[in-house]
């Protein structure tokens, strides 16, 4: 099934998005943020917190901020400290956390020596992490191939141990990806909490420890079901870059990562968010991790029929920003949701057209298709009907990742049986309607085609306007969802700084990355990378 859309117009939309994203890039390139710097410290192996439970990476950055020398960057001061003391990054961070080491008062080493040492540390970190990623890919490839679309479910008990039990059940029931819902207001915290969550509200914190526990459980479930089960978490928020780093460290497969979500829905500062999203996406791209964007949030706040073009606008911009950060299209999962009012005539056809349009506009993107939520009520039976129709749209238009709706969506976070019923419906539709998209065509001059052209024309208009105004001004004037944000307003602006003369971040250095990649390819991996248990060879392909 194809919609007849003018390719020239699509190309123009992409050009406009490139010009919008380019305008952002010019301004953010000379900037870094406290959370980008903390993510660098995490990548070179610093973890844990001090006696007052402040994460060591925060202690480190706070000390530099306090002394007004953060402009040189965390890695500059860390490398200097290593050369001056001979201690490990972790050892230095612990002493900073205990207030027994003043980074700035250590004897300053020659700049060349600092740079060389820093490149060495970063290259080692890259080799370890790239090696780990490669092992994970090998494990994935050793298991039976997953049928498309991937069925994505959430667990949200607030206790990571309960989440694990539910995730294992979901994996057995046929889930391909499991997202652990994050504690609700974590996006507003300017630090990543430490440790294991057992009493979170609305979810568990995104922490290294929680990630690790769930990863172990899903790897076990993957081997048991001979099907790779992907782990998903969320990094949008003030710690976007830092959680991306944790995702890389702990082997997550998919991270929810939206360039605009924090600005629009969390009132995070736009400059801070743009700098953070850029580095977080750079990292995820480097480690071949998939991102999914959050346009579903946008759809929920607008009239999903009349104002739908703004969703496409956001997708074009998200795509371009991610590409500017070095991501390839195959890893940029744009968000999309089916939120039309079921009272509309032909709402099914309209959803079908919108879903197909997104698929055609972004053919290589593993689009994440999200289920109806807005018009669900306590009527769980009707909610199940809505979800089944949604599943049909997803299979028909060959979406890559389908987040399954729950019959109890409007009532509570899913019970174990809710997830089962959803998977049962989705598996049925995938089996029953898998070839539908290849067999059925839309009328070339029907209402579907007309709708698609209308949507694309409005999208082009909006993108033109935003390209003229620039993204910052458009955010300020309420171009998205009528939400207005001031350039220097919102949370986190004080965490943005201009990179100084000595600033160092070899993770961005192509030569360092190339050398690390070559080392990994030559299989000179430092130390054994542990994956729980033995990896079985593929059995009978299902």
């Amino acid at each position: 099934m194809r919609l007849p859309i003018p390719t020239e117009q699509v190309r123009h939309c992409r050009q406009l998005a490139a010009s919008i994203a380019g305008g952002v890039q010019d301004e953010i390139s000379p900037l870094s943020t406290v959370s980008v710097e903390r993510s660098l410290l995490r990548l070179v192996g610093i973890e844990g917190s001090n006696q007052e439970s402040v994460p060591l990476v925060n202690c480190f950055i706070d000390q530099l901020t306090g002394q007004r020398v953060l402009e040189d960057g965390a890695l500059y001061w860390l490398s200097n400290a290593i050369l001056a003391t001979g201690e490990t990054p972790q050892g230095i961070a612990e002493r900073v956390g205990a207030r027994s080491l003043d980074l700035v008062r250590l004897p300053r080493q020659p700049r060349r020596a600092i740079e060389n040492h820093c490149r060495g540390i970063v290259q080692d970190a890259l080799v370890t992490l790239l090696g780990k990623r490669r092992r994970r890919r090998e494990m994935e490839e050793s298991l039976a191939r997953t049928t498309s679309p991937w069925l994505y479910v959430i667990v949200a008990t607030g206790n990571i141990y309960d989440d694990i039990e539910q995730a294992k059940a979901a994996a057995e029931q046929g889930a391909d990806a499991v997202a652990v819902i994050r504690s609700t207001a974590q996006s507003l915290l300017d630090y990543v909490p430490e440790g294991i969550t057992t009493e979170g509200f609305g979810g568990t914190y995104a922490t290294g420890a929680n990630f690790r526990l769930m990863r172990g459980a899903l790897d076990e479930a993957s081997r048991q079901s001979n099907r790779y089960v992907r782990q998903v978490n969320y990094c949008s928020g003030l710690c976007m870059a830092e959680i991306a780093a944790l995702g890389v460290l702990e082997g997550l497969d998919i991270l929810v990562n939206d360039a605009l979500y924090g600005i629009l829905f969390r009132d995070l500062n736009m400059i801070r968010t743009m700098v953070d999203q850029h580095f977080s996406r750079y990292l995820l791209g480097l480690f071949d991790t998939t991102i999914v964007t959050g346009e579903d949030n946008l759809i929920k706040t607008i009239d999903a029929f009349e104002e739908y073009p703004i969703v496409l606008v956001s997708q074009f911009i998200n795509e371009q920003l991610a590409k500017n950060a070095g991501m390839r299209e195959e890893r940029i999962g744009l968000g999309h949701a089916a939120e039309l009012d079921p009272a509309l005539e032909d709402s099914f056809l309209k959803e079908l057209v919108q879903a197909q349009l997104v698929r055609q506009l972004f053919p290589r993107s593993p689009v994440k298709f999200m289920p109806p939520t807005r018009y669900k009520s306590g009527n769980i039976f009707f909610a199940h009907v809505l979800d089944t129709l949604f599943n049909l749209v997803a299979v028909w238009t060959d979406q890559a990742i389908v987040l399954l709706g729950m019959p109890t969506e409007a009532i509570h976070t899913p019970y174990v049986q809710d997830r089962y019923l959803s998977l049962e419906s989705a598996l049925h539709v995938r089996r029953a309607a898998g070839s539908l998209g290849q067999e059925v065509r839309l009328k070339p001059n029907g209402q579907g085609a007309a709708r698609a052209c209308w949507l694309l024309a409005r999208t082009e208009e909006s993108l033109t306007r935003i390209a003229e105004e620039g993204l910052w001004n458009s955010l300020a004037s309420g171009a998205f969802s009528a939400i207005k944000r001031a350039r220097r307003g919102g949370r986190g602006y004080d965490g943005v700084f201009r990179k100084g003369h000595f600033y160092l971040n070899p993770f961005l250095d192509r030569e360092v990355v190339r050398r690390a990649r070559r080392k990994v390819a030559q299989n000179t991996l430092p130390g054994a990378i542990e994956l729980p248990g033995a990896i079985e060879l593929p059995g009978a392909v299902v």
């Binding site: 057995e172 609700t184 207001a185 609305g202 929920k300 706040t301 409007a410 509570h412 174990v416 049986q417």
Partner: protein, 247 residues
């Protein structure tokens, strides 16, 4: 002599058959024993003629059951005491007229879903111009000034907005009521408004599909709305209460 009251029972397809439909999971794998356990639970709930119509293994040591049964419980619905009073509804014009000429002011409504609740569908249905159920939302009324704080506003932000905007009405929507988290937030907000001396000048209203209006009143709200509430119902109540307060 008292009139004979009709008692009612759940209805399937015959009057007084007491038909009840039930589903739940157990944290054990499916087996002959687990099936009996499920029926036993239905029995302990007081159901009779229990039929286990579906039993499914959910994996990882969980199983799911769908059962039917009959209850002998019967209720006199006339004897039930209602806390949510059914009010007569005013219409759009009458509401604006009363506000403009009787109350003689434009009413400021500050609305939010508070705490961790991200569901704004109910709030938007009442406040956004688009409205709900064929009725315009409060934004569309010339005599209402709406300040919609949206999702997940912390109670102190609501309080600040109420103060800054000189709110006449604070409207809180709560959809997520799991583990009674909403009660904590609702009572916290009521207490904070009280402590800051704003409470007596305000009409404090909450709404949501699972809000127990009795409890809402107990934690200090003036009114609570249940599922399916339309903007007109909320607007009518606001007018009535503000006029009553003004007298």
């Amino acid at each position: 002599m008292s009139e004979e009251r009709p008692f009612i029972r759940p209805y399937g397809d015959r009057l007084n058959d007491g038909a009840v439909q039930l589903s739940f999971s157990l944290p054990i794998s499916l087996s002959a024993r687990s099936r009996e356990a499920a029926k036993s639970i239905a029995g302990r709930l007081g159901l009779e003629q229990i039929r286990l119509v579906s039993a499914l293994d959910l994996g990882n040591g969980f199983s799911f059951y769908i059962l039917y049964g009959a209850t002998t419980v019967e209720i006199d619905d006339q004897a039930i005491h209602l806390t949510e009073v059914e009010r007569p509804l005013l219409d759009f014009w009458r509401i604006n007229q009363l506000l403009e000429f009787e109350l003689k002011k434009r009413v400021t409504v500050v609305g939010a879903t508070i705490g961790t609740d991200a569901h704004t569908v109910g709030l938007d249905a009442i406040l956004n111009a688009k409205g709900f159920g064929g009725e315009s939302g409060l934004e569309r009324y010339p005599q209402f000034r709406v300040v919609n704080l949206g999702a997940q506003a912390p109670p102190d932000e609501v309080l600040e907005a109420a103060r800054e905007q000189r709110a006449d009405v604070v409207l809180v929507s709560q959809v997520v009521t799991q583990r009674n988290a909403h009660l904590e937030n609702l009572s916290l907000l009521a207490e904070m408004l009280e402590a800051e001396g704003l409470r007596q000048d305000l009409l404090l209203i909450c709404g949501g599909p699972y809000i127990d209006s009795q409890v809402a009143l107990e934690v200090g709200f003036d009114a609570a709305f249940g599922p399916g509430t339309t903007p007109l119902a909320v607007a009518s109540l606001i007018v009535e209460e503000l006029l009553r307060k003004a007298q």
